[in-house]
Symmetry: C2
Subunit: 140 residues, 2 copies
DNA sequence: CAGCATCCGGCGTGATACTG
DNA sequence: CAGTATCACGCCGGATGCTG
């Protein structure tokens, strides 16, 4: 019940509490999850292809991410009992709906990350120490 | 623009590389960041109000989150040199644009988290039990 | 009231080695 | 090829105590 508090101004914009936010972030706030979903968004891939398509991911993280996504019904795992073992992973409809949401997120980031980087650089120049008094003369 | 992309081999669906995704997640993949942005979306608040409005957040995390957001230009910090110190935080336009994006995310989660929870529960019942059908008779 | 410094435990994460 | 198991490390994040 985080929503309705009695402090003066309007409070929480979202009715959901922090536990819910936490759940959301657990699902999509993970680098490898996002990358895996993105890589899979085009179609089904095998384990090794996945690993090759996601630079820097380890077996451990790939397997773990895949398991979580499968458990949540975001993708399907299909193992073929062949002599060279083959396993294919493919997004479900639910998983595809997440692609859209994440893409929106990435779109926002793409649109603003330059601005953010600029702000960050500026504040590091101006705000770091007490030396800012000297700089502010030239900066502002 | 999300899903439809052609793949054949090990290439990414998104042109951006993982470093970029990482940046995005560093910004919005954080529970406290999201909650802080959400709480501030209604208007400016003081430090203590913020802390009271975000259940479970510690000073450390609040301060840290606030600093990061200020550094990135997502919010402004205004300190009043009064005898009882007062500091107000308010979202910038950039910060507000993030609210929209995050709200979309939360909207997705709200629409599907029931489905996800169901899938998870189902796979926990069916997935592990493949090996031991026998124990289910004795255990349950 | 607003904020910082410090200690510390948990676990996310990667590297490596082994199995079916 | 497609994983599983183990270990070691770093960092996140909470609790506490102190300052201006």
């Amino acid at each position: 019940m985080a929503a309705a508090r009695q402090i003066a101004g309007p409070c929480q914009a979202w009715p959901e509490d922090s536990a819910f936010i936490r759940e959301v972030l657990d699902r999509i706030g993970d680098k490898w999850t996002v990358l895996t979903i993105g890589t899979l968004s085009a179609g089904s891939l095998r384990y090794s292809d996945l690993q090759a398509s996601i630079p820097g991911i380890s077996q451990r993280m790939l397997t773990q991410t895949l398991k979580h996504l499968e458990r949540d019904g975001l993708l399907t795992r299909t193992a073929y009992a062949e002599v060279p073992p083959r396993v294919e992973y493919e997004l479900t409809d639910l998983g595809r709906s997440l692609v859209d949401a994440v893409t929106a997120m990435v779109g926002w980031a793409a649109a603003h990350h330059g601005e953010i980087a600029g702000n960050r650089a500026a504040s590091e120049l101006a705000g770091v120490g007490r030396a800012r008094a000297a700089i502010s003369a030239s900066a502002d």
